[in-house]
Amino acid sequence: MVDFVGLYNYWIVVFLMMAGLYVVIEHGNLVKKMVGLTVFQAAVFVLYITLGKVRDGTAPIVAEGIEIYSNPLPHVLILTAIVVGVATLALGLALVVRIREAYGTIEEDEIGDQDGPAI
């Protein structure tokens, strides 16, 4: 039971991940899909940051009195992953704008109804 509660960070990760993925699959609205995707990615950020945490650790600063510190590498990796996430979101939303211009809607099923057979 203590383990179960002590690992609460990971439970949050799993919950966010599944919630995000569910929204991507379930929602027909393209903006909501992007929201789901972002939540899904954010879950991974939390996972990495949790991995880097050391109990009683502080920020990794070279100074007197600081002996136990968290692993900075996952933080750095996640900075990169956040940048990738922002780029993905920006590109996705830009595509949604273009889709709205071309179809007049951002609902997936309404878009599907508008086009004839494949070219």
Partner: protein
């Protein structure tokens, strides 16, 4: 100079991409993109030569020693993949200025060249890096850039195809990054060789198994392994033909490379295939891909969509080879990686030539194409023969090695299935050939050959298909070399 080749391989195209935006002019941007792509091809030729003569190259980026710094590790396998990617880029790029695509984007063409170079950078980076997280970053660079390229297609459906590609691609890449994070948690390192050394000490606990599952599923999404292929046909159908040719010949190949790298180098043969039963599910999915995707291809009305489904089937052959877990099987996989890049590149370029004359790719609109565009249709037919695996074409060599590997692994059923599924390819290629040569062209149908700027790259790839169908020492030699290294002390 030669010491820094691994860095140059990626940096050249990476720097040229923003430079394309700075120079603005469409012809100037094209010349810049063309010269850097050709330079990247030259670099990968030199790298392959160096690897074959002196062995694996390890390059420490910025002088930071591995495993702390990022290491670029070039062995026979990724030198070969680099050669395929940069070579196809070098052939496809001269095709673009006269293709429909540039007429559509007009003066903004420099943005297309920028995205193309970024995509090339990403694919080359995935292939060359020896660092797991670095691989993820390059994968996302290539995936975002190819998403832009796909969205430039002539029909508005290109937009939804690109959006789906973005969403599915991101989920795949995120799966990979979860896997990498879990491995990092278990081993404390990101360097692929270092991971391989430290993994046995973890006792293959549940974290490692979860990481393995995430990585393999992530890679399977990226390489469009059946049944995770659903994004691919749409993307390749609605993308501009140049982009379809480039992506079909490179992006999924790099995906297969990632799968091979993780299965054989990072996790090792022992863990991937003995501790966990990975070979059988991969083999079943590969055979299903060959049959289901080929059958769907037979029933397509659009030739471009048919070729896209055929790509899914061909990926099945590559995965089938590696799922045999023998040196022969891996050799066949890597040879097919190379040969399929040549044939699908050629076929999609032929489609690009047709797009120059007419907007429709429906089979009934191909009526009389053999008389309306004789050179283009001859190229398409030659590429189709290679796809089927007729002797004297590159496709035959792949099938030959695959069948030999299946027989050597004591799997006669698999060998028979390879032959039967090739017959399905005969059917779908024949439907196009029949329409093109045995039906009268409809009155008023657009007639006239595509310009030489389009035909020359197409025929160059066709010539390579024939050349590597006869002279096989380069692909087979390199593939064998790579397969031996991957299997290590294994069977």
């Amino acid at each position: 100079m030669t010491a820094h080749l691994p860095a140059l391989q990626v940096v050249l195209t990476l720097l040229a991409a923003p430079a394309c935006i700075l120079v603005r002019g469409r012809d100037l941007a094209f010349l810049l993109a063309l010269s850097t792509t050709w330079a990247a091809f030259a670099v990968s030729c030199l790298l392959l030569d160096q690897v074959l003569t002196t062995g694996t190259i390890s390059y420490e980026l910025g002088g930071w020693a591995a495993p702390f710094g990022i290491e670029y590790r070039v062995d026979a396998l990724n030198a070969f993949v680099l050669l395929i990617v940069s070579g196809i880029g070098a052939v496809v790029l001269p095709f673009t200025p006269r293709s429909l695509l540039i007429e559509m984007v007009g003066e903004k063409a420099y943005l297309f060249y920028c995205a193309f170079l970024l995509c090339l950078t990403g694919l080359l980076g995935v292939a060359i890096t020896g660092d797991a997280f670095n691989l993820f970053v390059f994968l996302e660079i290539s995936s975002l850039a190819s998403c832009i390229l796909i969205s430039l297609g002539p029909h508005r459906r290109a937009l939804t195809a690109a959006f789906q590609y973005l969403v599915v691609g991101t989920i795949g890449a995120t799966f990979i990054v979860i896997g990498i994070g879990l491995i990092y948690g278990a081993t404390g390192t990101l360097n692929m060789n270092d991971i391989a050394e430290r993994l046995p000490a973890t006792g293959y606990n549940r974290t490692v198994i979860a990481a393995f599952a995430f990585l393999i599923v992530g890679a399977a999404i990226k390489l469009a392994l059946f049944p995770l292929h659903f994004w691919l046909p749409k993307a390749y159908t609605y993308a501009p033909s140049t982009v379809s040719a480039f992506l079909a010949a490179t992006a999924t190949k790099v995906g297969v490379y990632v799968l091979i790298r993780f299965l054989f180098t990072v996790f090792g043969v022992e863990f991937s295939f003995e501790v966990l039963p990975t070979a059988l599910p991969l083999m079943v999915l590969a055979v299903l891909a060959m049959f289901v995707a080929s059958t769907i291809a037979i029933f397509q009305d659009s030739v471009k969509r048919m070729l896209a489904y055929s790509s899914v089937a061909q990926i099945g052959y590559m995965v089938l080879g590696l799922s045999l877990v023998t040196v022969d099987g891996l050799t066949a996989s890597v040879v097919h990686l190379f040969n399929h890049a040549l044939m699908k590149g050629a076929l999609f370029l032929a489609i690009g030539c047709i797009a120059y004359r007419q907007a429709s790719f429906r089979i009934e609109d191909f009526a009389g194409m053999g008389r309306r565009m004789p050179w283009t249709m001859a190229a398409f037919t030659a590429g189709g023969l290679s796809l089927i695996g007729i002797p004297l074409t590159a496709g035959f060599i792949s099938k030959w090695y695959l069948i030999l590997a299946a027989l050597a692994a004591d799997e006669p059923l698999i060998a028979a299935l390879i032959v039967i599924s090739s017959l399905l390819a005969v059917i779908y290629i024949w439907r196009v050939v029949e329409a093109a040569y045995f039906r009268e062209p409809p009155p008023g149908a657009p007639t006239g050959e595509a310009p030489a700027a389009l035909l020359v790259p197409t025929w160059l790839l066709i010539a390579l298909n024939v050349y590597f169908g006869i002279e096989t020492s380069l692909p087979v030699g390199v593939a064998e070399h790579a397969a031996r290294a991957l299997m290590g002390a294994g069977p």
